[in-house]
């Protein structure tokens, strides 16, 4: 097991290295941040001084070398725009995004598994068909459109919920959260629903197809031939088997929720990492973009590792590669 984790860590370092190289070159190719940062009327000398202070006067490979040297000491550079450490800026926003993603995923899992089970157990019933039709909608409607509709209906027309922003937060052990106040929840509800919709549909379909497949298996028929109750057959024999693919997908989707909450965050003016990324890209704020992507890759690696460990815990047939029996 430790060997397995170590190997994964080394792989992750490789990915991070390649990633940083690509992003560095990519942002460099898009344009010169100085054009956006410095007053167009500034003198040639001012320009040169600004370029020198940001290190932008050097050739790309020197810039990258400097970045790498500092990165190895845990310093991903300062934001061109804000002057503050890029990683710090992002981490500051991490709780907001994480909170949104966790609530959205919980909604998707806690609703999706029971609904999927129902649709899988009674595929021809009216509720079963309704659930499936709903999940097709959830799949095919674009996130931004659903977001706008949610705002239109619940914020503008009905006036029940705020249209955007994070609302009041409480500090718990230095981490800000909306989850402790009613007002915080009211702000969280719409963006979380928006973000959850696609994942909910995905989990419903996954659970449904898994259930239908499991029901045809001999082990389910054998369980019924043993005289077990339906609750036990479905709740233990079926669920334990279908949970294996569901955990995998939930894990991977959770990573993408964090990384791509950009759309939802900008529609609902949610002050998370996604919105910061968008702003940084338009401003060509390279250190923030690079730091953001490196952080996201790291998150993915950690999540994948967790998924693999969970997978091995759930499925007795799986032995982790490199792990000794």
């Amino acid at each position: 097991m430790p060997l397995f984790i170590l190997r994964r860590g080394l792989q992750a370092l490789n990915v991070l290295f390649v990633m940083s190289l690509l992003v560095f070159a990519g942002v460099y190719a898009i344009g010169n941040p100085l054009d956006l940062l410095v007053d167009p009327n500034a003198t040639q000398e001012d320009m040169a001084r600004a370029a020198a202070s940001l290190g932008l006067d050097q050739p790309l490979w020197v810039q990258y070398g400097r970045f790498l040297a500092r990165a190895l000491q845990g310093d991903l550079g300062d934001s061109f725009l804000h002057g503050a450490p890029a990683l710090g800026l992002i981490v500051e926003r991490l709780p907001a995004t994480l909170e949104l993603a966790v609530v959205a995923m919980l909604v998707a899992v806690l609703l999706g598994i029971p609904l999927g089970l129902w649709a899988g157990l009674r595929p021809d019933s009216l509720p079963g068909k309704t659930i499936m039709a709903g999940s097709i909608l959830g799949f095919s409607l674009p996130t931004f459109w659903v977001g706008l509709m949610l705002i239109m209906v619940f914020a503008v027309q009905l006036g029940w919920l705020p249209a955007g922003g994070r609302g009041p937060t409480t500090d718990v052990l230095g981490v800000s959260t909306s989850l402790l106040t009613m007002e915080g929840w009211r702000h969280l509800l719409l963006p979380a629903a928006n973000l959850a919709l696609f994942k909910l549909s995905l989990i419903i379909r996954l659970t449904r197809s898994g259930t239908r497949e499991a029901l045809l298996q001999d082990y389910v028929k054998f369980a019924r031939a043993k005289g077990l109750s339906n609750v036990r057959v479905v709740g233990v024999h079926v669920l334990k088997n279908i949970l294996i693919p569901i955990v995998t997908v939930v894990g991977l989707e959770f990573g993408s929720l964090i990384a791509f909450s950009v759309v939802t965050e900008s529609i609902f003016a949610w002050p998370g990492m996604g919105k910061l990324l968008l702003d940084s890209i338009t401003q060509l704020d390279r250190p923030v973009v690079v730091a953001y992507l490196l952080l996201v890759v790291t998150l993915y690696v950690v999540i994948n590792l967790t998924v693999d460990l969970l997978y091995a815990a759930l499925d007795p047939r799986v032995r982790l590669a490199g792990a000794r029996q």
């Binding site: 001999d218 082990y219 031939a225 005289g227 007795p316």
Partner: protein, 338 residues
Amino acid sequence: MSASAPPTLAVEHLTTRFATRDGTVTAVDDVSFSVAPGEVLGLVGESGSGKSMTGFSILGLVDPPGEIAAGSIRLNGRELRGLSAAEWRALRGDRIAMIFQDPMMTLNPVLRIDTQMIETVRAHRRLGRAAARDLARDALARVGIPSPDERLRAYPHELSGGMRQRVAIAIALLNAPDLIIADEPTTALDVTIQAQILFEMQTLCRQSGTALIWITHDLAVVAGLADRVCVMYAGRIVEQGSTAQVLETPAHPYTRGLLDSTPAVQTASCNAGQARPLHPIPGMAPSLRALPPGCAFCPRCGRASTACEATPPLVEPAPGHVVRCFHPLVTTLDEAAR
């Protein structure tokens, strides 16, 4: 077996149908037989002849679109048709147990053996986990599994196919059922293990007086195991009788054909080592969707006449030996004796 013992199971005119898109399929058609305590009944037929469906019907496990359309199933005199779902559940795994064909598929891959055994006990009896576990261990030991305590903690994939089938048999035995339905349980296993398991099952059922229905497509298996034999073809029982009657004086052309296509079927009075040329039955098992009217075996039968386009009558060449055919190979005791 004394013929006078009241049967454990009596099935009469059992008919199980499936409503499919292109019409109704009668998978089990007017099937009648009974099994006495401690008796072994062999249910023989080609694949698709309705053997498994007969078993599932007796367990009340026919899933929609299938349903039991007619007939009666009595267990120790009690009618099972019309039982509520809860009453069925109380019977299954307790009074009637079933063993499936493929041991690789019947145990749940993600649950330990002890979980799968203990739940079977506790579904039917108010017992603590420890007591249920003791029963499970004893059952494993009884079916010849070495170091049962260790096996209890194993997952199915850690056991061989033969071992897994023994576990499934142990599960069937757990609650000392009145009837066990074994659906081709040794087909997927190699010959030595098959022979061991056959012998053990036979002994266990004899000792406990459990009635056993052994489903198989292999007449050779039935020869050494069963007291009585039912031969099924296209959902119907075409011949039944004692094992000696059916195997030594087969009356139905299909049974004859099965015997001629099975190597080394040996019953007590057969000359051991007598080589017979093998003759496969011509043609293929019919699709239940497009059965010919009258006798379903007609297209493959060498004795068929125009009469066979009507439903054949039941003929009883000897007491307890019944055949459904217009032109049976034996019709009287005299002929059978020749």
